[in-house]
């Protein structure tokens, strides 16, 4: 099965951390799941201040500044991984450096086709 691992953290908390050390940890983690074959895709998102939310209402496109949900923790990136089952996906999610101070949401992906 494929799982999307959505990485959430409070940007102000994240900003106070040693970026170099965190990025190095992410490098090691990513290399590990590429070698194990679990890696499908990953991206880091720019800060939530750059977000625009789009809705279509009455046929009109409405764009508003900011994220869709005003939550304490913001979506900062994701990994798409292949895992045998939820336990395996959770084990991978637990190795993501941000899990220590933020949170990782594990979502199964619909199989299309």
């Amino acid at each position: 099965m494929q799982y999307m691992l959505l990485i959430y953290a409070t940007e102000s908390v994240e900003g106070a951390l040693d970026q170099g050390a965190i990025m190095a940890e992410y490098g090691v983690f990513t290399q590990g799941i590429v070698e194990s074959g679990a890696f499908k895709a990953a991206d880091r998102l720019k800060p939530v201040a750059t977000a625009t939310t789009v809705r279509i209402r009455d046929g009109k496109t409405l764009s508003t500044d900011g994220p869709f949900a005003e939550t304490r923790e913001q979506l900062g990136g994701y990994y798409l991984v292949e895992a045998k089952d939820l336990d395996e996906a959770v084990a991978i999610a637990a190795k993501i450096p941000t899990a220590r101070y933020g949170a990782v949401e594990v979502r199964p992906v619909w199989a299309m086709g």
Binding site: Y3, A83, D85, L86, D87, V106, P108
Partner: protein, 411 residues
């Protein structure tokens, strides 16, 4: 069919149903399909067993249930061919049927898989409890709904959602590997203990106490020698043994110190006592369940309330506070301390605890305060505390008890 056969069938279903279901879920990979197959196997058994009862009822139920599940899938496919169902059919046909009717080596393994899947931490605690009672204990949905004071429809939806999450999220049907096992056992024990405490605090005679003990017994047999499992089993047995004395003829609550100890279940106490030692020494440090069982054992061993070894109980609560500190343990510790150092010393601790606010809304805190104040002859304060306890009580026997205490203190 005679009544004798009907009774035998009921007994066989109750004994073998959960294990047959556990194996059918492994074979079909689908909770609903397995349940439907087993239902049809039960119906077939009502006819077939009246003529010739099988040597191995569980294997019979699995063989027939698997065949009926396959039929069910074929009917669905004939109705609307779906790729997923074709694959499921191929998978079940690939899985070997249980040929050897004498082979019972795998039945415990399947039951463990079922227990760990129902108690998976990715499910909400209430879903874990509902699934466990429905599938592992084999209780009817209506009975599970009654136990948790929700409608049958609400409970049915809860079960549907839980099974859908197992399927969609890819929760594995397996006993967890060694590195996850200890933590996952704790999760299963939390579910069993919740079932037990819900039964214990509520109206008598709901039967969930026996289900919780039965689950712990099975778990102890399947994963022997684990202090936490054995400790919880001992703890529940030592409490359940007092059930016949916990309520009077009118259904009112009788406190431990006032109970007729002759009504306690001696066999259950003996079974519990025999487990306490092994449970305490299985791990270092011991599981908190084992320490709580040791405390319950000291109460059960006292011939009269006055014979209770309160010094040792206080010492065990101190151990428990180090192992798993919580405001509830702290409150129990203070209540036990009253029996050694007197009510005034205990009241100072309870008041300090109340001032921290960690137990706001918990009716046992004002109840303990009220009892200490009563013993200190501070009757006005005691009345106010009982009134607080009464306003917070969730269960009818507790409400009647606090009302009675208030009446005894006068207006």
């Amino acid at each position: 069919m005679g009544d004798g056969v009907g009774l035998q069938l009921d007994e066989a279903f109750r004994r073998h149903g959960p294990e047959a279901l556990a194996t059918l879920i492994r074979l079909t990979g689908d909770f609903d399909l397995a349940e439907e197959g087993l239902q049809e196997a039960f119906a077939a058994a009502a006819v077939a067993w009246a003529e010739a009862p099988p040597a191995n009822p569980r294997a019979w139920l699995v063989t027939v249930g698997r065949r009926r599940a396959l039929d069910q899938l074929r009917r669905r496919i004939a109705f609307r061919a779906r790729q997923g169902e074709l694959e499921a059919l191929a998978e079940i046909e690939r899985q070997a049927a249980p040929e050897d009717e004498g082979d019972t080596a795998f039945e415990g393994d399947d039951l463990l898989r079922l227990i760990f899947t129902c108690c998976h931490p990715a499910l909400s605690l209430e879903a874990q409890v509902a699934l466990t009672l429905r599938t592992v204990c084999g209780l009817a949905t209506a009975a599970v709904a009654r136990a948790f004071l929700v409608t049958e429809e609400t409970m049915a939806q809860r079960l549907v959602r839980a099974k859908a999450k197992i399927r969609a999220a890819g929760i594995p049907y397996r006993t967890p590997p060694r590195e996850l096992l200890a933590a996952r056992i704790e999760g299963v024990l939390a579910v069993i203990y919740l079932v037990f405490t819900e039964a214990y605090a509520g109206e008598p005679g709901r039967g969930l106490g026996a289900e919780a003990i039965g689950l712990a017994r099975r778990l102890d047999a399947l994963l022997p020698g684990r202090g936490a499992i054995r400790g919880l089993l001992a703890l529940m047995l030592l409490h359940e043994a007092r059930r016949p004395a916990r309520h009077d003829a009118a259904g009112d609550l009788v406190l431990l110190e006032d109970q007729d100890r002759g009504l306690w279940d001696g066999a259950m106490i003996a079974e519990g006592l025999a487990l306490v030692g092994p449970a305490l020494t299985a791990d270092a440090p011991p599981s908190p369940y084992a320490v709580q069982a040791a405390i319950a054992a000291l109460h059960d061993q006292a011939a009269t309330a006055a014979d209770t070894d309160w010094r040792q109980i206080v010492a065990l609560y101190a151990v428990l506070m180090r192992l798993s500190p919580s405001p509830v343990i702290e409150l129990n510790h203070a209540a036990a301390l009253a029996m050694v150092d007197g009510p005034a010393a205990a009241l100072r601790r309870v008041d300090a605890l109340a001032a921290r606010g960690a137990l706001a809304g918990y009716e046992v805190l004002p109840a303990v305060r009220a009892d200490l104040l009563r013993r200190l002859a501070r009757f006005d304060d005691a009345r106010a505390a009982y009134a607080d306890a009464l306003s917070l009580a969730r269960h009818e026997p507790d409400r009647r008890y606090f009302t009675r205490r208030l009446a005894e203190l006068g207006e």
